[in-house]
């Protein structure tokens, strides 16, 4: 079944009052903390500009940086695999897991694995995936989809999480309280057993440092760090857009990311790992570099700015649309405003669902204001809307919307035509109105009057008044 358009996918989310209350609470708390962190950093604007410049520079010579990265990872004893699309990435990872003979993998901190549908692929290969991020684990236990990039269970409250853990963690017992300490302790007990048993781990990475072949990951729980150190085999998967040229560049991003994601000056756990080290950590390290539409986005001269994204979720936390729908209507890849551009940029706008994403915004601009790497998201949204319309122009029969928009432009293209149409329109609108308001409009405009009135146009337009009194 094809994925529904944003508007249709948003409907059940709007009706879920509990999820909406939880999301509103989570985003309001985060944006308050983020704003305070930005305000408390004297050189915040300089940092943003530096982040923008490093991101652009990295993308400009992406091929060279990727080659350097591959060389450095290989020299450090790791193996680099290239995956052009999701299918290839799934094949590489399932092949690597199969070769170890493991029937269970632990997984942490990877939206990229969701992008490629890794869990299902591994399940089909007879391998059980255990999410180790607490929020991811809650989503997995609840058998639902994540709603937030940073805290995937932002739509759940403590009572719901306690209920899920009571059922899933046999040791937790029915008496598990729903205070944060008790929940964290139950999750810890549950996860410890998984970590100690695991022979293979799959992780993502926030950054890939080309010059040293180092991967960097930021997290608040320490569970990803357990995945990085305990198992024998470590498989990290990351998009090719995560490359930064030098270790020095991390100075900027290690300041930008925590402030924009959780409002903290520093992330509790910053892990970096390079290849393999004899006698310590995993004995085998694989890095899977994923394209999956990223070079397509890179080829788009307006859209490529979106590849600077460092996945902080600040744009989601300020987005009034996201606050009401959560992340799920944006599709499986990236939620929020950045998802509304990254998904169509990497996948194209051929499907109705992907074509609906650039319209899932009022273009209010709040996202651009907070983006730590200064991505002008509304600019990219408008650019992508242009692509959607261009793709519709190629259809033999114009859509009603296209006929309306072309007709409007033709009418307004000439003052005389415009004035005649206005006179006609006013007559019709006044016929539709009762008591100075229009409660139902026909056709495509009917969407407006589903819940809003339109004022009836006064008998005299401004033009008419001007001609009568001033001309």
């Amino acid at each position: 079944m094809p994925r529904p358009k944003f508007a249709a996918a948003a409907r059940p989310e709007l009706a879920d009052t509990r999820s909406r209350r939880n999301l509103r609470g989570a985003t309001a708390a985060l944006r308050g903390r983020e704003a305070a962190a930005a305000a408390g950093t004297a050189d915040w604007e300089d940092l943003r500009e530096a982040g923008r410049a490093i991101g652009d520079g990295a993308l400009l010579d992406l091929d060279a940086h990727l080659e350097e990265l591959e060389r450095a990872v290989t020299e450090a004893g790791g193996t680099v695999h290239w995956a052009a699309d999701a299918a290839e990435a799934r094949l590489v990872v399932t092949g690597l897991v199969r070769a170890t003979g493991a029937k269970e993998v632990v997984k942490a901190a990877s939206a990229t694995t969701r992008e490629i549908g890794l869990n299902d692929a591994l399940a089909r290969a007879g391998v059980t995936v255990r999410e180790t991020g607490v929020a991811e684990m809650v989503v997995q236990l609840g058998e639902d989809a994540p709603s937030h990039l940073l805290s995937p269970a932002a739509h759940r409250d403590r009572a719901e999480i306690a209920e899920l853990l009571r059922r899933a963690v046999p040791g937790a017992g029915p008496g598990l309280a729903d205070d944060p300490e008790a929940l964290a302790a139950a999750a810890r007990t549950h996860l410890r057993d998984r970590f100690l048993r695991a022979r293979v781990a799959v992780t993502g990475a926030n950054f890939l440092v080309a010059e040293t072949g180092t991967l960097v990951l930021l997290e608040s729980e320490g569970n990803a760090r357990m995945c990085l150190t305990l198992p024998e085999t470590l498989i990290s998967i990351a998009g090719i857009d995560k490359v930064v040229p030098t270790w020095d560049d991390m100075e900027v991003f290690l300041q930008l990311l925590p402030r924009s994601s959780t409002g903290d000056r520093m992330t509790p756990y910053v892990s970096s790992w390079t290849g393999v080290t004899p006698g310590d950590g995993p004995r085998a390290f694989h890095l899977v570099l994923l394209d999956n539409g990223r070079t397509r986005a890179l080829a788009d001269e307006v859209g490529r700015a979106a590849l600077r994204c460092i996945r902080c979720s600040a744009c989601s936390n300020v987005c009034p649309v996201y606050e009401r729908t959560g992340g799920r209507p944006y599709g499986p890849v990236h939620p929020g405003p950045i998802g509304a551009v990254l998904t169509p940029l990497t996948r194209g706008v051929e499907s109705a669902a992907d074509a609906s994403l650039p319209y899932a915004s009022t273009l209010c601009g709040a996202c651009a204001d907070v983006c730590p790497v200064k991505i002008d998201i509304p600019d990219v949204l408008v650019h992508l809307r242009g692509k959607v319309v261009e793709s519709r122009r190629r259809r033999p029969v114009p859509t009603p919307e296209m006929a309306l928009m072309r007709g409007l432009a033709w009418t307004m293209g000439d003052p005389r035509r415009h004035e005649a149409a206005v006179r006609r329109g006013v007559r019709w609108a006044r016929l539709l109105s009762r008591g100075g308001r229009i409660r139902r409009l026909p056709g495509l405009l009917g969407k407006w009057t589903e819940a809003r009135d339109l004022p009836a146009p006064p008998a005299e337009s401004f033009r008419g008044w001007w001609d009568r009194t001033r001309a």
């Binding site: 209010c364 692509k387 928009m405 339109l454």
Partner: protein, 242 residues
């Protein structure tokens, strides 16, 4: 000063009171107002909806309608923002350097910018004895950065009781085609905006964009909310006992 008026296409028909108020206000301040007849629409709706070819055509004729005007004033932040912030982008998308040059040659202002920055007035001699709250539209707030200019103008109105709107900077959910394409989300957003407006106890909610006001007012009207929407210009044009 001779001031050319730019009136939004839907404003001309649905909210003629706004442009009349601007005319009355500017004439009261001693300026000559002109209404260049060639203007129809700035092309914003087509541009933001993705109809970029059509937007370029409209932008060309809109820019041409104001060619040679000393100064152009629009009582609509979103139209002013379109000319100033979007025309360069429209020109680039259409590969039309002529349009870019034409846009650059226009001194195009949103009304409150013009009053405060160009004319240097915040007290326009208005009298409006009502409780009013102000909704800063997204384009005025973020694209143009009009800041507190509208509030300073309102504070100088005699008799006016200005009350702050909670979560004022949050979008009302109009967003042009968004209100139709994502009607349910749009309504959820305006429902919150209307709740905040009613929480203030104001009789009037004003803004510098009739588009947002049409949205907020449309929801208030359906609810019989007992709150009026007015364009800021209409308040500034009101006078009373000296």
């Amino acid at each position: 000063m001779r001031v050319a008026l730019s009136v939004a296409c839907f404003e001309d028909v649905l909210f003629p009171g706004t442009a009349k108020a601007v005319t009355v206000l500017l004439e009261r301040l001693g300026h000559e107002v002109a209404f260049p007849p060639g203007q129809t629409c700035c092309g914003q709706f087509h541009w933001t909806a993705g109809y970029h070819r059509e937007a370029a055509g409209l932008a060309r004729s809109h820019a041409a309608a104001f060619e040679g005007c000393e100064v152009v004033v629009a009582p609509s932040a979103s139209c002013a923002a379109t000319v100033r912030a979007d025309y360069p982008k429209i020109a680039r998308a259409a590969r039309d350097p002529g349009l870019a040059r034409a846009a650059e040659g226009l001194a195009f202002y949103e009304l409150t910018e013009f009053l405060v920055d160009v004319l240097g007035v915040t007290d326009v001699g208005a009298y409006f004895p009502h409780r009013v709250t102000y909704h800063p539209s997204c384009r005025s707030l973020r694209t143009l950065g009009v800041g507190d200019r509208p509030v300073r103008l309102l504070r100088s109105v005699r008799g006016l009781d200005l009350v702050e709107l909670p979560s004022a900077g949050e979008c009302c959910g109009f967003g042009g085609a968004f209100a139709m394409k994502n009607a349910d989300v749009s309504v959820a957003m305006v429902a919150d905006k209307v709740r905040h407006v009613r929480d203030t106890g104001a009789e009037v909610v004003c803004a510098v964009d009739d588009s947002c006001l049409a949205h907020i007012g449309g929801a208030l009207s359906r609810l019989r909310g007992g709150v009026r929407t007015m364009h800021l210009a209409e308040i500034l044009a009101e006078t009373g006992p000296a």
